[in-house]
Subunit: 399 residues, 2 copies
Amino acid sequence: MKANNFKVRGFFFSGIPAGIKKDGKRDLGLIYSKVPAQVAGVFTTNAVKAAPVVLDRQRIKGGFCQAVVINSGNANACTGKEGLRDATQVTSWVAKELGIKEGAVLASSTGVIGVPLPMERMEEGIPRLIRALSPDGWMETVEAIMTTDTFPKVERATCRIKGRRVTISGMAKGAGMIRPNMATMLSFIVTDANIKTPLLQQMLVEVAELSFNRITIDGETSTNDSVLLLANGMSGHSPIGSKRDRDAARFQSKLLEVCQSLALSMVRDGEGATKLIEIAVKGARNRDEAKKAAYAVAHSPLVKTAFFGMDANWGRILSAVGHSGVRMDPNRIDVFFDRMPIVKSGRGVGGQREEKAGEVIKNKSFKVTVDLRQGEAEFSVFTTDLSIDYVKINASYRS
Amino acid sequence: MKANNFKVRGFFFSGIPAGIKKDGKRDLGLIYSKVPAQVAGVFTTNAVKAAPVVLDRQRIKGGFCQAVVINSGNANACTGKEGLRDATQVTSWVAKELGIKEGAVLASSTGVIGVPLPMERMEEGIPRLIRALSPDGWMETVEAIMTTDTFPKVERATCRIKGRRVTISGMAKGAGMIRPNMATMLSFIVTDANIKTPLLQQMLVEVAELSFNRITIDGETSTNDSVLLLANGMSGHSPIGSKRDRDAARFQSKLLEVCQSLALSMVRDGEGATKLIEIAVKGARNRDEAKKAAYAVAHSPLVKTAFFGMDANWGRILSAVGHSGVRMDPNRIDVFFDRMPIVKSGRGVGGQREEKAGEVIKNKSFKVTVDLRQGEAEFSVFTTDLSIDYVKINASYRS
């Protein structure tokens, strides 16, 4: 996709190498709206939150944002009060250069943790970053937020709202674990729709639950995970403030499309991943139990290594479900690989049918359905296999 | 250690190749007491329980056991009603050949799941197994229960109780994941002490909590996990029925020694493990939170791969604790590698001190202490690193 496909009215983008990453790649990015945008955000649930997350959570309460400054190569996490002071300082430099309010600037970081931000480089980089701003700068910003990602993660959608064409453009960086440090997923979504802040926030929370919160590489949440959604209203339609507005649903479904696509890209690019696997649990007593069982399977190193080895080891799936603590009867459970039954009432189907089902996991992408036959609730989650490369990537010395 | 070190009065052991394993190694074992022994057992908490676990849980309620028949190469798990019928049949053959009650025979299995027991081989093997019984047969039984274990796991202890010399001998097989199948740990402990069944059971539960339940390779519990303790009273001392008996504590502390040693052997032999790591959490609000945090660190693939890579990546430890959901203040937490501080109040100690602490994880064995500084509770658990070989072993096709 070409960069100009991601253009959104009123937004400007840039990304430059500022010397934060050691390899000289782009590591400082900026998203700027010429008018203050309504803003929504969802953040890591980890009790250890990076400084920019602490700052952003506070600032989005104001409801508006005009710029987001993002760096890779340093997470500004576990950096104490100095870290928060540094993050604030960075937004202050950006605000001053752009001539906007400091409170309208958000920050995001990803990279090595426990190391102070290289403030001289940030200060030196910011004026260059701002000079580089362009409506066509999208892919430079995308590059600047990448770490171990092996490909850029972008998606867009358009729709008509109240007679105006509305664009939603999203970028993300890997849910895979970041070498040399911990998991971080960042996503920035910009739109020229005009959605009032409380509704925008509600929509983003709901959409995240069905996209970013449905993927898991290794069960960890990072100190820095952040999703920010900016809506600057420049498409010109009258504001939407309630779900009772019919156009609200149309916008939200497009937002969901973008976020699901970004989320799946992150799984596909999970560190060392060779497969994209949907784990669907149905027939649970309630949704919480369905979720618990789905995550137990999706996080099981034994299940994940079996998938990597293309071993249709359904016993490990049953054991993971059994271990999850949900109500189940091992003699009722059914398992399907795509649509092929492999376990019926807790027993392997055996023979050619089992062999045929076993073939499914040789595909790059497949679905595992576990039917507990206990009730009506279901939940599904996307994950990857656990490969030798995952260990290699994450075992490397920080360099 | 020589086999005759493990002799216990009145016990006989054997282990033979019966053709259950494909490689022709010993795969059928028997432990026999010439008089009925008092028996205690702890079993997997997985909702999916193998047939022999279902059988044994029922039978130990009787309080006595005279023989345990164990096979490797087939777990008799996820085998439905036929599996339970098969396990019962095996104990019936053993009882008949030995001329004892069927209800006094317990069974254990480990190996591939979802495949029926090869009953012809079991039937053919049992008479040979019984003919091979000997007070010196200990190591043959140990061999017969091994699967991916790279070394036999045995421990013994002796003590004097009421003027009599009492011996406790224990054997175990790997907590590492079993190729080609799922995690199973089995342990069989025999003693000539005379401890009444209810007390024996209480002691075993308490000891297991401080030994077998303090180790974790990858957070999974198996369908087959079992620990059986047989006390035949042949040392001749008068029976102990209560903790008020001073000798009860002496016996239990020796039992703990044996079980802790077996448990650590299992961790050391965790599949692909290169390191033995104690994760100790202290300063938690309560014991549950200490436990939750300790397991979050011990199960984190990011922490475990960092240890494999000898990367003193303390940020991953903080993130794992933060992710665990326990009450904490990221700016209070301290972390030590052995006695060396690496994190103080949520920040890396930096410089030479941090480098020196980082050296610790180059050792084969070390302790990570996380002090939450929230309260007085603590909990510790032993684990391994996550290596490339772990993935290789567990990704292999079932053969």
